[in-house]
Amino acid sequence: MLRYALNRLVSLGLSLIVASLVIFLVVEVAPGDPASFMLGINAQPDTVAALQAELGLDVPKWQRYLTWVGGMLTGDFGTSYTYRTPVSEMVADRLWISLPLALYALALSTALAFPAALYAASRRGRPGDMAVMGATQLGIAVPNFWFAMLLVLLFAINLGWFSAGGFPGWDDPLAAMKALTLPAIALALPQAAILARVMRSALIDIMAEDFMRTARAKGLTRSQTLWRHGVRNALIPVLTIIGLQFSFLLAGAIIIEQVFFLPGLGRLIFQAISQRDLIVVESVVMLLVFAVILVTFLTDLAYAAVDPRLRRRA
């Protein structure tokens, strides 16, 4: 297990190094110098040069890369070109919206998918199963931002149960959770559809196993067998999918935040892009990629802890 963990850790480190290089290069080849952009077209060359020096843009690219990566490692993400505030502070503020939103959606998606999958698997081939499968087929096809607009139309505009957008802050946790509810539902639905399909498949595979027949033979009912032996075994592939979904939810949050005018990482990144605030773009993207690589790493470890065969294969 230790060897497997070390192996994955090295892989994690390498992925992060390559990812940081790719992000840095992609952002650096972008046309337009932030200093001239900020000062406008009538700026004097010496003013531009002075601002470049102030922003640390006058040193060679490799040096800037090292400064950026070194800073990230110590929690210093640099200073925003536009707002002149530390990027880490801006990110921390926004993260308190995007992260709870992604987790809320993950919880909703799991809460929706599990019962649906159990129900469908226990009624395989019957009308109940077909109804669930049909619903998931539809859920996968619905763009989450459009679904979000429909939710706003129904629950905010017509029924008035929720606000159509904005975020009241965490001072009032209940109001904050309420503001995140519609966005979380919009994010969760397509993911719940995928999760339900994967889990149903996994359950159906498990149900064909000998130990399930044995459980039935010793007198357990169909649903008892499913609960006690089926779900536990089906969880292994399902956990992997849940891990993968985290990245979809984080990325999806960026789009959904636009629908609900939530001041999260998504809005930060779009603002930064339009203002050519490269350091913010780089740092936010790197943070998102780091989150995904870390979750993949943890899922790998959890998977290996559950299934010893994987450790040997590594």
Partner: protein
């Protein structure tokens, strides 16, 4: 099997035909603004109503289908064009340095949240349909590489491949003449799925303003434009969204149906 294939094929066909037809004819010109007619609900004159500039929504959806299909199709082409050769090469040199490099590269691309990088690419290189294609296409490459490699690896241990080796064929030739034809079915099925994902991705990118730019109509941007008018004229937001849902649903059903038809080993009723 036909239960999913037929409706899937029919739905997909409707949108392909609408897109092709739009080159020759649309009910109204998509650049024809008639402010007096703005936000009309669906009627006999405008089957799906009009938008905030008085443009006919049906015509916009038909031309928008062109954008969606073109972007998703080329993105699948990029994914297949690069991914399949990479997957074949990795399988042919299984366990070698090339295999390792290709698979590690794949893992890396998979580690990036695709939408985030698509946003990054289109934002840096400028929003346009071409950049959206590239951004979506890049993420199709590892999907096809991984699929091809997995299927090809299983084939390399088969007797008929051994026979081809004994006959003196090289790895590249075996890959092309024997492996590739045997993975084509899988590629078609995956291609359909990636095509539908491409349509969703294109819609998301144009929704945030990073896809096709005005005046080219696109479904995602129609939705973005509709967002502020959803309370006054819900149809403006409903229609393009339904177009996306039906197209993606059709393609997914088509993919499932094709998988059942091409691979009888997978029984009915599996996900």
């Amino acid at each position: 099997m036909m239960r999913r294939l037929a409706p899937g094929a029919a739905l997909s066909a409707v949108f392909v035909i609408a897109a092709l037809l739009s080159f020759l004819w649309t009910p109204y010109a998509v650049d024809g603004m008639a402010i007096a007619n703005r936000l009309q609900p669906p009627s006999a004159a405008h089957l799906l109503g009009t938008d905030h500039f008085g443009r006919d929504i049906l015509s916009m959806i038909m031309v928008g289908a062109r954008t969606s299909i073109a972007v998703a199709l080329v993105a699948v082409g990029i994914g297949m064009g690069l991914g399949v050769p990479l997957g074949l090469a990795a399988a042919a040199r299984h366990g070698g340095l090339l295999d390792e490099l290709i698979m590690r590269g794949n893992d890396l691309v998979f580690a990036f949240p695709s939408l985030v990088i698509a946003i990054l690419i289109t934002a840096i290189a400028g929003p346009s349909a071409v950049n959206a294609i590239i951004a979506i296409g890049i993420f199709n490459v590892p999907v096809f590489a991984r699929l091809t490699r997995g299927a090809a690896l299983a084939l390399w241990s088969r007797d008929f491949i051994l026979a081809a080796q004994v006959a003196g064929k090289g790895r590249a030739r075996i890959s092309l003449e024997h492996i590739l034809p045997n993975v084509t079915n899988l590629l078609i099925v995956q291609g359909t799925i990636q095509f539908s994902l491409g349509i969703l991705a294109e819609a998301a990118l144009s929704y945030v303003g990073l896809g096709a730019q005005p005046p080219i109509p696109s479904w995602g941007r129609m939705l973005a434009d509709a967002q502020t008018m959803v309370a006054m004229a819900p149809h403006v937001a409903l229609m393009p969204g339904l177009a996306i849902v039906l197209t993606v649903l059709g393609l997914n059903l088509l993919g499932d149906g094709l998988r059942d038809a091409l691979d009888p080993k997978l029984g009915e009723g599996r996900a």
